[in-house]
Amino acid sequence: MFADWPLLSLVIWTPILGGLIVLTMGDRMPEASRRVGLAFAVLTFLVSIPLFTQFDRGTHEMQFVEMIPWISTFNIHYHLGVDGISMPLILLTTFTTVLVVIAAWEAIQYRVSQYLAAFLVMEGLMIGVFSALDAVLFYVFFEAMLIPMFLVIGIWGGPNRIYATLKFFLYTFLGSVFLLIGLIYLYTQSGSFAILDFHHLPLGMTAQTLIFLGMLLAFGVKIPMFPVHTWLPDAHVEAPTGGSVILAAIMLKIGGYGFLRFSLPIAPDAAMALDWLMVTLSLIAVVYIGLVALMQQDMKKLIAYSSIAHMGFVTLGFFIVFMIFNNTGSWQGAALGISGGMVQMISHGLISAAMFLCVGVLYDRMHSRRIADYGGVANTMPWFAAFFVLFAMANTGLPGTSGFVGEFMVILAAFRADFWIALLAATTLILAAAYTLWLVKRVVYGEVANDNVAKLTDVNRREFWVLGVLAFAVLLLGVWPAPLLDVLDATVDNLVRHIAVSKL
C-alpha cells in the first residue's frame, strides 16, 4: 500500500515540520511541546517502518527512489533513494530520536521547545544525509545538521560547552569543505552531481588520491579516526544526554556511511593504494584509544573514547577488503569485512545510545559524571544496575549481544587478510572488557560510596521503558542478526564487486 508514497520525503520532512511546529509553540507550554515533539518523533518512526518491511532484499539497486529537478543550472536534483546500507541507518535514526525525546522529558527544563525542535530538525537532516543520491543534496544535509547540533551543545551543554561546540563545529566544517571541492571536481568531470554517476566515472590515480584524501578528511573527522578524533571527547562530555546520544548513535555513523557511499566506490584505486594508511589508523584507534579509555575519570569521556575505538573497528572492516582480495581473491571474504563494519555501526548505535542514556540517568540524579563520585549504585538502583551491566557487556562484545556479531565478523575478515592485524584487532576484546568492566565495577558494584549514592532512587517508568526497549534491541540483534544481514547482503556484495574493478 505504501509503494507509491514518497516515503523518503515523508520521513525527512515530517520531523522537520514537527520541529518547526514545536518551535512556534514557544516556552509557555513545555508539557504540550513535549507531547507534540514525541508525537512527531513516533510518527516519523512509524512512517519509516515500511522502508524496512517493503524493502526488496534481492537487489542492490536504489529503492523508494524520488527524483525532481532542483537547481537546473547545475543539473542538481532532489534525488532520494535507499539501498541496504542506508536503510538500516535511517531506521536507527528514527528509532533513536524517539528515545532521545522521551529521555529529555524531565532532564530538560530550559527552553524545551527549542531543544525538541533542534532534535526533530536534526533527525530530518540526518535521514536526508542517508537517503540523498545527489551530491549537493547530500552536502546540504551533511552541513545543515551541524547548526542544530552546535546549538544543542552550546545551549544545553556543560560548563565548558562553548569550547566544545566550537571545536566540534570547526573540525567538522574544516573536514567537509574538502569533500565539497572533491564533489565539485567530480561534477566538472561528469557533468552531473548524481552520486551513482560518480561511481562509474573513470578517474586517474592523482585525481583519485586527492579526492580520496579530501573525503578522508571529511568522513575521518566525522567518524572520527585517529588523529582527528579529539573533538569527540570534548563534545560528548559537554553535550546534554540527548546530544551525546545522537552524536554517538547517528552522527558518527555518517562518517562510516560516507566511506561506503563515496570514498570506496568513487576512488577504489586510491583506497587500495592507501589501505595501509587506513588500516594503520584504524588499529591505532582500536589499541591506543582503547588504552586511553582505560585511564578516564569521567564516565562520558570513557564512553566517548570507547566509541572511537569501536569506530576504528568499523573502518578496519571497510578497508581491509583490499588485503583480503590480495590474499584470497574471493568476493565473499571481502564482503564479510564490510558487512561486519555495517553491523558494528548499527550495534554501536544502539549500545552507545544506551550507555549515554545510562550516564544521563545517573547525571540527572547526582549532577556528576566523575566515576569517583559513584560506587555501589547497584544497592540503591538494582534495575538500573541490571541494564547498565547488560549494556556494558554488549559494549565489550559479549556473545548474545549485538556487539558480538559485528566484532566477530570483522575479526574473522581480518584473519583472512593478515594474522597480525587480526591479532591487534582482537585486543579490543580485552581492552573493551577492561575499561568497560572496570567502569562497571567502580560505579555499580562495591559498598555504597557516599550519602549521595545512598539517596539515589531507581529508574522511573519512563527511563525503564527507554532502557528496556534498547536492551531488547541489543539482545535481538545479538541472537538474530539475520534480518539485518539479509538487508545488507545484496548491496554489500555489489559494492565489493564494484570496488574490485579498477577505474584507471
Binding site: 543550472t73 547545475f74 527549542q114 545543515a144 552550546g154 562553548i162 566544517f173 569543505v177 574538502f178 565539485i184
Partner: protein
C-alpha cells in the same frame, strides 16, 4: 548638421529617478520637520516607481541609446531591479535610526536617490565617460552621506579619508581610461574592445599599463586587498544606516562596471587581468577573514567580512567564463541581501544613545527576542556559507567556476579561508544563543521594519531551499 533625437524609452527609469530627486530636493524645503515622513514617502515612491518602470521596460534584447553611451540589456534590468529594491529596504531600515538621532532630514534621501541614480548609470554605462560619470555621481553622494552626522568627528574623519582615497582612485581610473582612449581612439566600450584587437602588438606595454590602472581603481572601489584600507574606517565611522547603504547596493554597481569594463571591454586582455584579479582575490580572502576575527566592533567585522566576500566575487570574475560571470552576479546579489539583513539587525538593536555596534551587544538575544535571534542566525549562517542558506549556493557557484578552469588549489584555499571565516560568524551566534543578556531593554521597531527584516532573513532560507530561481536569472543574463 542633423540632430537625431535619441530613443528615450530605455532611459525612462533613470529620468524618472532624476526628476523625482530634483523634485524632492526642492519640495523638502517646504516640508516642516514634523512632516518629514512625506519626504520619506516620496523617496520610497521614487525607488519603487523606478523599480516598476525598470521591470516594465525590461526586454530580452540589448538596447543601446543616447549616441551609444547607454545600454539596457537583461543584465542591467536585473541589477537595476535589485539595486532599487535593496535601496528601498535600506531607506526603510534607516528610518528609525535617523529619527531617533535628529538626522531625519531630506538631504539623506536626496543624496541617497542621486547615489542610486549614479549606480543605475554605472550599470547601464556603454562608454567610458558614462561609466565615469555614474561612478562619480555615486561616490560624491556617498562622501557626503558618510559625513551626514556633522557633529560626529569620527564620521568627519571617515568622510575625509573616503573622499581623499576615493578621489585618488577615481583619478587612477580616469588615467587608465585616457590611456585606453589614446590607444583605441574611442570611448565606446565595444569600440575599445575592437581597438584592442586591432592594436595589439603595437601598444602592448601601454595596454598593460592602462589595464593596471583600471584594475587598481576598480579594486579600490570594491575594497579588495591591498586597496581596502579605507573600508573598515568608513564602515566604522559612518552612521550605521549609511554603512548599510555603502555596504549593499554599490557593490552590485561596482561589479556591473567590472562586467562592462573588464570582462566585456577588456575581455581580449583576459590573460593579463586574470593574474591580477587572482592576487587581489587571494589576498582579500586571507586578510578579510583573518583580520575579521580580531574585531570587536560589528561594523568593522562586517567591513572585513565584505573584503573576504569581495575576494570570492573576484575569484568568480577571474575565471573568465560565462559560469564565472554568472556566479559573480549571483554572489554579489546574495551578498547584498545578506549585508542588508546584517546591518538591519544592528539597526534593530540600536536605539537613541546606543549604537549596538559591539559584537557583545548581541549577547543573549535569544532570550530577548527569539525570533530575531533566529533571523540573525540565518543571516550569519548565510554569510558563513552554510547550507541550506543562500550563501552556500553563492560559494558553490563560485567554486564550481574556479574548479572548472582548473584552479583547484585556489578553490581549496578559498574554502579553507571560509572555515576561518565561519569562526567569527559563529561567535555572533554564540553570543546570541549561549550567553545571558546584560541589557534587557524592550526591543521594538515599527511593523514595517519587523516584517521587512524578517522577510530579509527568511529569504536566506527560502532562496537557500530554492536557489534555482535566482541562479537561473543570473545565468540567463550572462
Amino acid at each position: 548638421m542633423t540632430f537625431e533625437i535619441p530613443d528615450f524609452i530605455p532611459v525612462i527609469p533613470e529620468l524618472f529617478l532624476l526628476g523625482m530627486g530634483c523634485f524632492i530636493l526642492v519640495a523638502d524645503l517646504f516640508i516642516p520637520q514634523a512632516r518629514r515622513d512625506i519626504t520619506y514617502g516620496l523617496a520610497q515612491f521614487s525607488l519603487l516607481g523606478a523599480l516598476l518602470l525598470t521591470l516594465w521596460l525590461a526586454a530580452p534584447e540589448v538596447r543601446i541609446t543616447m549616441s551609444g553611451t547607454f545600454v539596457a540589456d537583461p543584465m542591467s534590468d536585473l541589477l537595476k531591479s535589485v539595486v532599487l529594491l535593496i535601496s528601498a529596504v535600506v531607506f526603510l531600515y534607516a528610518r528609525p535610526y535617523l529619527m531617533s538621532r535628529d538626522l531625519y532630514q531630506g538631504e539623506f534621501y536626496v543624496l541617497g536617490l542621486f547615489g542610486v541614480l549614479g549606480m543605475m548609470v554605472m550599470i547601464s554605462a556603454n562608454s567610458l565617460l558614462t561609466l565615469y560619470l555614474g561612478l562619480e555621481l555615486l561616490s560624491l553622494c556617498l562622501y557626503a552621506m558618510v559625513a551626514f552626522n556633522r557633529d560626529s568627528t569620527q564620521a568627519a574623519e571617515s568622510a575625509m579619508k573616503y573622499f581623499v582615497l576615493g578621489s585618488i582612485a577615481s583619478g587612477v581610473l580616469l588615467y587608465g581610461m585616457s590611456m585606453l582612449y589614446g590607444i583605441t581612439g574611442t570611448l565606446d566600450i565595444a569600440g575599445v574592445t575592437a581597438g584592442i584587437l586591432t592594436a595589439s602588438g603595437e601598444f602592448n606595454m601601454a595596454l598593460v599599463f592602462a589595464l593596471a590602472f583600471v584594475v587598481v581603481a576598480l579594486a579600490f572601489k570594491l575594497g579588495a586587498v591591498p586597496f581596502h584600507m579605507w573600508l573598515p574606517d568608513v564602515y566604522h565611522g559612518a552612521p550605521t544606516p549609511v554603512t548599510l547603504f555603502i555596504g549593499t547596493a554599490p557593490k552590485i554597481a561596482a561589479l556591473a562596471i567590472i562586467m562592462r569594463l573588464l570582462v566585456d571591454g577588456l575581455g581580449p586582455l583576459h590573460a593579463d587581468w586574470q593574474g591580477m584579479l587572482l592576487i587581489l582575490a587571494v589576498l582579500s580572502l586571507a586578510v578579510g577573514n583573518v583580520v575579521a576575527i580580531a574585531q570587536t566592533n560589528i561594523k568593522r567585522m562586517f567591513a572585513y567580512s565584505t573584503i573576504s566576500h569581495v575576494g570570492f566575487v573576484l575569484l568568480a570574475v577571474m575565471a573568465g567564463t560565462t559560469e564565472g560571470n554568472a556566479a559573480a552576479l549571483f554572489y554579489v546579489i546574495a551578498y547584498a541581501l545578506m549585508a542588508a539583513g546584517g546591518f538591519g539587525m544592528v539597526l534593530y538593536l540600536s536605539r537613541q544613545g546606543f549604537e549596538a555596534d559591539n559584537i557583545q551587544d548581541f549577547r543573549g538575544l535569544n532570550e530577548r527576542s527569539p525570533w530575531f535571534a533566529f533571523i540573525m542566525l540565518l543571516l550569519m549562517a548565510s554569510m558563513a556559507g552554510l547550507p541550506p542558506t543562500l550563501g552556500f549556493y553563492a560559494k558553490l557557484a563560485v567554486l564550481q567556476a574556479v574548479v572548472q578552469v582548473d584552479f583547484v588549489w585556489i578553490a581549496v584555499f578559498a574554502v579553507l579561508m571560509s572555515v576561518i571565516g565561519a569562526f567569527y560568524y559563529l561567535r555572533i551566534i554564540k553570543f546570541m544563543y549561549f550567553d545571558k543578556p546584560e541589557d534587557r531593554t524592550e526591543l521594538s521597531r515599527g511593523m514595517d521594519f519587523n516584517v521587512v527584516l524578517s522577510v530579509n532573513g527568511l529569504l536566506m532560507l527560502g532562496l537557500g531551499i530554492f536557489p534555482g530561481i535566482l541562479m537561473s536569472l543570473t545565468a540567463a543574463v550572462r
